[in-house]
Subunit: 212 residues, 2 copies
DNA sequence: TCCTTTCCCGTACGTTGTACTGAAACTAGC
DNA sequence: GCTAGTTTCAGTACAACGTACGGGAAAGGA
């Protein structure tokens, strides 16, 4: 029988609430006070379930990273497809990923699948790890751009206006002719072609490496 | 003739001091108070030269990004070579780059050179911009790993020990055989081969894109 | 000398993460 | 029904952060 006062919450529940806040309002909106309010709890109560905020972020990434085969597929391309789907669902992930400690079963499983997909290359272990890290970084970059582009089309006219305003002077100076041309084309971005770019990136990373 | 009280500092000088702090002790050590102390100035005096801390970071990136042909070379490979040299000299750059507003002549010139290197592809403007953004993201990822690896070899045994400790249980469970094998190989990282990986990445990004 | 302009910077406020501390709620043993 | 032991809850408090405000200081022009 469990002794002591019974917990009013659970760790996964708290992490889920944190994820919900970050999903809806971004990482900056996720403060310990805000999270406590959302859970009708005292701020310090959270620290019973979570060592500190870093730990909370670690758990958020871990909890969100449950493998869903419907998102991905086989091989490295399946892995990056899954990563992209994850980051599109949780736009805070690219910003949160650096400095994370990834020791949970979901992230380790994900790493294991990546290593499995690299088995046939015969590369040394560290080289495999490097490739997986670079791929994750690539997906994070790609999705960050993707999200910004998507937002730019809809709202955010204020920020865009500021940006253009600040660049206009420089662009009109004639010192940056190619940049000027791109700006004049407007922001009619072509379809992102994630699949194509990702598979070329994978092929490039797997090409005959001298270190192998 | 300039009227009013003469400035005790200059903006480039303040930005240079900020860069020095970040170089020596990392981005976290760079606070407005610390910077003021370093300059023998009052904290609020800094705000005469800089709108806010975001602006300071923007200027740091801009000021550090002066083009030095000795670091780079021609084409995209020269560009990423230069970026890598820059980030190795200023390890805070990968972390600082997201959310920056890059409107200064150095960054615009860098962008213009990138567009020039992509001229021959005939790609639409937004596609070129995307390629440049992805390349920068790749270099940032690569250098981040590189720096961590380099540090791991020398100091930081504390952090490594913690990490291994936390992973040991999971690894020993037998659920992650490939990960276990990599861990057992030790961290004898092979030479990073930046040139090789970077040129393959460029080739991949430039490959026949359906959107082009 | 006085006015205007510009920069300097001490004080102060709101926000953040979290250490400390004691109250509260439960079980186990008597 | 106590009492002791154990665990969680949460209010208070503090240090550090970015920075708004406003008055004082130092220069040139009239």
């Amino acid at each position: 029988m469990p002794r002591g006062r019974p917990p009013a919450h659970t760790r996964p529940q708290i992490v889920a609430a944190a994820i919900a806040i970050a999903d809806a309002e971004g990482l900056d909106a996720l403060t310990m006070r805000r999270l406590a309010t959302e859970l009708d709890a005292g701020v310090m109560s959270l620290y019973t379930y979570v060592r500190d905020k870093e730990d909370l972020l670690d758990q958020m990434v871990e909890q969100v990273s449950e493998f869903d085969p419907a998102d991905g597929g086989d091989g490295l391309i399946g892995l990056v497809r899954w990563q992209r789907a994850l980051m599109l669902r949780h736009p805070w992930m690219p910003a949160a990923l650096p400095n994370r400690r990834l020791g949970g079963p979901n992230m380790l499983g994900h790493l294991e699948r990546g290593l499995a997909a690299l088995e046939h290359t015969g590369l040394p272990g560290p080289a495999k790890m490097e490739i997986l890290a670079l791929l994750t970084g690539f997906v994070a970059s790609y999705v960050s751009n993707e999200v910004v582009q998507a937002r730019a089309g809809v709202t955010d006219t204020q920020r865009i206006a500021e940006h253009v305003e600040r660049l206009r002077e420089a662009v009109l100076s004639g010192a940056y002719p190619r940049l000027a041309k791109v700006m004049s084309e407007g922001a009619t971005a072509p379809p992102p072609n994630f699949e194509a770019i990702a598979s070329r990136m994978i092929a490039g990373l797997l090409g005959d490496r001298p270190g192998g």
